[in-house]
Symmetry: C2
C-alpha cells in the first residue's frame, strides 16, 4: 500500500509530533498516486481549483505567463510538498503546473481539508503555519527579485533549494541535483537564460560552486550565505501556540 512511508508525514512531523489520529487523516490524503513523464503539463492557469497534490517523487514547477509570452516561474516543488495549496482559496487555479522530470503525485480533493479542520485544531494550526511560512518564503524571494543582482539571485535560489531538501533528508550534504534548464531558472529569477549561463560560469570560476552534469556542489556555503544575507525559514517554526490536538 502507498503511504507506508509518506513524504507528507515525513515533512509535517518535522514540526510537530503526529499521533495515530493525525496520521490517519493524512494517510487518507495520500491513498491514490499517479505518474507523469518529464515536461508534462498537469494543470493550467484558469482551470477549476479542485485538487491538491502531494509530491511523492521528482521535481515540478508552477508558472504564469503574461499575454505576450513573458513567463514567471513562481514555485519549484519537491517531494513532500503540497502543490496547489495557495489556490485552495480561489475558485480557479492561478498557475500552470509542469513536471521538470518524471514525477509521482498523490492527488486529493481540497474538500478533504474540511475533515482536518473539523477534527484536528492542531493539524489545522500546522496547515495555517505552513501557509504563513510559505508567505515569508515568498517575501524573501521578493526581496531577492526586487533588490539583488543576478549573482546574488542565483546564489539565493541555490541556498533556498538546498535548505528545503535538507528538511526531509537531513543526511544531505552540500551537493544536490538541479534538474532545471537555465531558461527555467531564468524564468524563476526574472533574468535571461544567457545571463544565467554567464552567472553560473562566473560562480564556478570564482570557486563558489562546482557543477557535474545536473549536480551542483556548494563549495563555500558560509560565503554564499553572507553574500545574500540568507536565512533558513524551514528549520524552525513557532508551534508553541498550537492547540493540544
Amino acid at each position: 500500500m502507498p503511504g507506508q512511508n509518506s513524504c507528507l508525514v515525513d515533512k509535517l512531523s518535522h514540526y510537530i509530533r503526529l499521533d495515530d489520529s493525525h496520521r490517519a487523516h493524512l494517510a487518507g490524503i495520500e491513498k491514490s498516486e499517479r505518474n507523469y513523464p518529464a515536461s508534462a503539463e498537469i494543470y493550467q492557469g484558469g482551470d477549476p481549483a479542485r485538487d491538491l497534490y502531494v509530491v511523492k517523487r521528482g521535481w515540478l514547477f508552477s508558472y504564469t505567463d503574461l499575454p505576450d509570452g513573458r513567463r514567471q516561474v513562481v514555485k519549484i516543488h519537491h517531494p513532500g510538498d503540497i502543490v496547489g495549496f495557495p489556490d485552495v482559496a480561489l475558485k480557479h487555479v492561478t498557475t500552470t503546473l509542469r513536471t521538470a522530470e518524471e514525477v509521482c503525485l498523490c492527488p486529493f480533493p481540497k474538500s478533504a481539508l474540511d475533515v482536518i479542520f473539523r477534527e484536528s485544531p492542531r493539524l489545522s494550526a500546522l496547515l495555517l503555519s505552513i501557509a504563513l511560512r510559505d508567505q515569508v518564503v515568498f517575501i524573501d524571494l521578493l526581496r531577492a527579485m526586487g533588490r539583488m543582482n543576478a549573482q546574488e539571485r542565483v546564489v539565493y535560489m541555490l541556498l533556498d533549494l538546498i535548505a528545503r531538501l535538507r528538511i526531509t533528508n537531513s543526511a544531505m550534504t552540500d551537493t544536490m541535483r538541479l534538474p532545471l534548464t537555465q531558461s527555467q531558472i531564468a524564468d524563476y529569477l526574472g533574468l535571461t537564460n544567457v545571463y544565467i549561463s554567464r552567472t553560473f560560469l562566473r560562480l564556478e570560476k570564482d570557486g563558489y560552486i562546482q557543477r557535474t552534469g545536473d549536480g551542483v556542489h556548494l563549495l563555500r556555503e558560509d560565503d554564499l550565505i553572507d553574500m545574500t544575507d540568507f536565512y533558513d525559514r524551514y528549520a524552525d517554526m513557532d508551534t508553541s501556540w498550537f492547540p493540544e490536538n
Copy 2:
C-alpha cells in the same frame, strides 16, 4: 467602546456570514487600541514575534533591508488588514513595520489564535484561506517584479491598492489617496525614486492617471487592467469547502 464598528469584522464578513459567536471571538481581538504618529517604527526585523495588529486607521508598510542598505518594501497595509500575520509561523519577525501617516492599531497576542482554532473550525478555515489568498497576491507581485517593466509595475501597484480598498469601501470610486513617497514606492517595486517620478509623469501625460496632492485618479482603468493583465484576487474566494461553524 472600541469594536462597535470593527474593521476586521467588516473585512471578514465580506467572505462569510459571521454569527454572534464568531463576532465575539473577533471582538476579543480588537479590544485595545493604540495611536502612532507618521513615520514611526512599530517593530523591527528580528524582534520576537509575539503580537499581531489589526489596522483601524491609516496606512503602514513592512520592509526588509539588505546589509548594504538596499531596501525592499514587501507589504502596504490598510485599515482592516492583519499586520504581522506571516510572522505567526516564526519565532522572530522578519520585517520592520513603519507608519506612512498617523495610524491607529489594535494589538493582540498571537496566542489568541489558539481559541479560534479550538472553537471555530469555520473561522479557522477562513484564516487559512486569507493566508493562502495572500500567497496568491505575493505570487502576482512576484510576476510583476520578475517580468514587468517600470510602467507596468506602477500600474499594477495602483490597481492592486484600489482593489483592496474597495473591499471595505464599496462606494469607492476610481480615486484614492496614496500617502507614500516616491522613494517608498520605488522600494516596493524594485526601482528608484527617480524612475518612479518619470513613470508617474509619463502615465499622467499619456492620460492614464491624474494626480492632485497625494490623490490618484485612474482615468482609463480598463486599459490599465489590460496593460498588466490584472486580476482582482480580493473580490471572490472559494468558501464552499468550509466546515459549518
